[in-house]
Symmetry: C2
Subunit: 149 residues, 2 copies
């Protein structure tokens, strides 16, 4: 992993459709050299995967909501159960298990507040292990990126 690798990563984390040829001109290597590096970076897991970023608003998921959740009992079984549910819930984009005041922070995208209300019914109220949760509605998605470098 050298400077050339880092340059490649900086480029593809913003645009994965760049051809090896374009990248090679950008950083001063030959096209096959870039491809060999990309292959290595993928196989070694530095590049985890390539994804298409969809527009939530163009697909009718206008609202982004952030929720802090506090569990009642923080046993291994309850934690794993909650994590499993969040992973399989479609409107949960992100779920973090954290130190501090809340146990979990969730980031959801929903069509409207009604869909969020249904989510809370299913996952918070019908779930005896939720102590409290705090909802924040996102007014501006100021920055949403997965850029690491």
């Amino acid at each position: 992993m050298d400077d050339k690798d880092l340059e490649i990563l900086r480029l593809v984390q913003r645009d994965a459709r760049l051809t090896a040829d374009t990248i090679s001109q950008e950083i001063g290597l030959s096209s096959p050299a870039v491809q060999k590096r990309l292959k290595r970076l993928r196989e070694s897991g530095v590049i985890e995967r390539d994804i298409a970023v969809l527009s939530p608003s163009r697909l009718g998921r206008e609202m982004t909501i952030i929720v802090d959740v506090i569990l009642e009992r923080e046993s291994r079984r309850h934690l794993d159960e909650f994590k499993r549910k969040m992973r399989s819930a479609r409107c949960v984009q992100q779920c973090y298990y954290t130190t501090g005041e809340a146990d979990f922070t969730l980031i959801l995208t929903v069509r409207d507040i009604k869909e969020y209300e249904e989510f809370t019914q299913e996952h918070f109220f019908d779930e005896s292990n939720i102590s409290r949760f705090r909802t924040s509605v996102v007014m501006d998605r100021v920055k949403v990126s997965l850029d690491v470098l």
Copy 2:
């Protein structure tokens, strides 16, 4: 935008390297038909872009931190100024302007707690307009996805 489009989107939002041929077999269309649809979806902005997802831990950004920030004065000028700073701060992956208790929720990736401490020095303490901030350290990135569908 029909069911076939949605099927295509569901596939490429998880793996943008799928070939049109693979997708076509999956959903029962010809390869050129899939390509036409993908092109249309990109041009119309339903697919915003394609990115490579990098592994934060493999690149030495082991820690994920969630910060809630409350500003002192919530004037237009102060809000825009804060947003601008967060957009350009490298370790800020996501920044949301929200209703509720906090004004902003940030998601950061940093090398270590020292790097976070430097971030707070630069952006919170040397910035007279920050009223309070609350830090949560992520213990488990339970789910991190940008899947919309």
